[in-house]
């Protein structure tokens, strides 16, 4: 039986990893698809007119934007599948 502290660490790791890792994988795929169809420069010009970034920088920023969105979705899922906080047991019955 592992000590409680390592169980707590594993839970925390699972929560962080469960949000960041799947969203990272999906973000990779989504970025690949996005920039296959859309020129990153076009997107950069639309998003930040007046600046002249390179395609690589636009791809990098685009990737992190997509990752932020997918991570938000993962985090919401994590919130929803977590058990509710236990009801207050000190409350007298009836």
């Amino acid at each position: 039986m592992p000590p409680p502290s390592s169980i707590a660490t594993e839970r925390r790791l699972q929560a962080w990893g469960g949000v960041l890792w799947p969203s990272f994988l999906v973000a990779c795929l989504a970025t690949l698809l996005l920039f296959a169809f859309v020129d990153p420069l076009q997107l950069a010009r639309a998003g930040a007119p007046g600046h002249a970034p390179s395609r690589e920088l636009a791809c990098t920023l685009g990737f992190f934007a997509v990752w932020a969105i997918t991570a938000a979705s993962s985090a919401l899922t994590l919130c929803l599948v977590r058990p509710r906080a236990p009801a207050d047991d000190d409350e007298p019955l009836g």
Binding site: A36, F37, E56
Partner: protein, 343 residues
């Protein structure tokens, strides 16, 4: 006794690690063989050149890779996890570096410093090889000498190096246990004909230390236990509190497991393979190699840990074509037709 041993020697992870670092250096028709050139929006893949309007091919290639991995796992078990997954390769390399520094240096801050320095070197080299797949590697290295990297190149080398350092150096097999989606999905691909790491309880049980030179069960003519008795001994050894303690046996009744614990010690996940099949097992074969070594030292006849399917135990012949496999083959054939067929 013949044991199927499809696990591969240590040379394979090393070869795969070197192959990753060699990949950006590979040339094809005078160009870099694998290059996702972001600046010019083109992907070079061993002579195949894809432009912006052609994401379908990349998706089909990805789907082929995923289907092939599923088929491999269905037929051969978790050979990917144990021998080819980047997480396994890099944590293996980081572990080897850590073990080597502990062998050469006394434990203390100096050993820690050397270890982390080597880890950092390995991580940065990994980051450079990775970015070399997006930005021509020769020019990348040439510009590294006089700090000529662009901001995004520097950022991705650092980001990828940090990710490597964290995943392979700190998290290690935690990733396999708690984070990997494939580890959760792969049991769906298994059936009774899929091989896995298994302990031969009828040969090994009852386990226990004994004086040297007694010989194995075959030499002593003890014979094999029936499966139910063997399982009972396994249960008693695994759960002494529940089963009222382990029974004691005279040395000549013992099985071939000398209970040395070598299999648990070498396991990257500290599993005890003797307690039965475990969902976390990566099928790396470290336990089987360690056990075979001990068994040879004891001059016993065989090995106690084998990589084989439960169906083989019942005497059934291995059926290669099973419903899940046929389905995966059909998907693979359809994807290949899509890739190679006329447009």
């Amino acid at each position: 006794m013949t044991a199927v041993r499809p696990w591969l020697p240590r040379a394979v992870p090393l070869a795969l690690l070197l192959a990753f670092h060699a990949l950006p250096w590979l040339r094809w028709d005078g160009r870099q063989a694998v290059l996702l050139d972001l600046a010019n929006r083109r992907l070079d893949l061993f002579g195949l050149t894809l432009g912006p309007g052609d994401p379908g091919t990349v998706l089909v290639l990805l789907a082929i890779a995923v289907t092939a991995l599923a088929l491999l796992t269905h037929l051969a078990g978790r050979v990917w996890c144990g021998h080819a997954c980047p997480q396994t390769l890099w944590s293996g390399a980081f572990g080897t570096v850590a073990a080597a520094t502990r062998r050469w240096l006394r434990p203390g801050w100096r050993q820690q410093a050397v270890q982390h320095l080597l880890w950092a070197g390995l991580a940065v080299w990994t980051g450079i090889s990775f970015v070399g797949l997006f930005s021509p590697i020769d020019s990348l290295l040439a510009r590294a000498a006089h700090a000529g990297w662009s901001g995004w190149e520097l950022f991705w080398v650092v980001f990828y190096a940090a990710a490597t350092w964290g995943n392979a150096g700190l998290l290690r097999q935690q990733v396999c246990r708690t984070l990997c989606p494939f580890a959760r999905l792969q049991p769906l691909l298994h059936d009774d004909h899929t091989p896995r790491m298994r302990y031969l309880a009828p040969v090994g049980e009852p386990r226990g230390a004994r004086p040297a030179g007694l010989g194995g069960i075959h030499a002593r003519g003890r014979g094999l236990l029936d499966a139910a008795t063997a399982q009972d001994y396994v249960f008693r050894a695994a759960h002494p509190a529940l089963s009222g303690g382990r029974a004691r046996f005279s040395a000549d009744r013992l099985g071939d497991c000398i209970d040395c614990g070598a299999c648990v010690q070498v396991c990257p996940l500290q599993l005890d393979v003797r307690n039965g099949p475990q969902a976390d097992c990566l099928a790396c074969g470290d336990c089987a190699r360690a056990c075979a070594q001990v068994q040879a030292q004891q001059q016993f006849a065989g090995t106690l840990i084998v990589y084989r399917s439960p169906a083989r135990d019942t005497g059934a012949r291995t059926r290669w074509l099973r419903p899940a496999g046929i389905l995966l083959l059909a998907v693979l054939a359809a994807l290949l037709a899509l890739l190679l067929g006329p447009r």
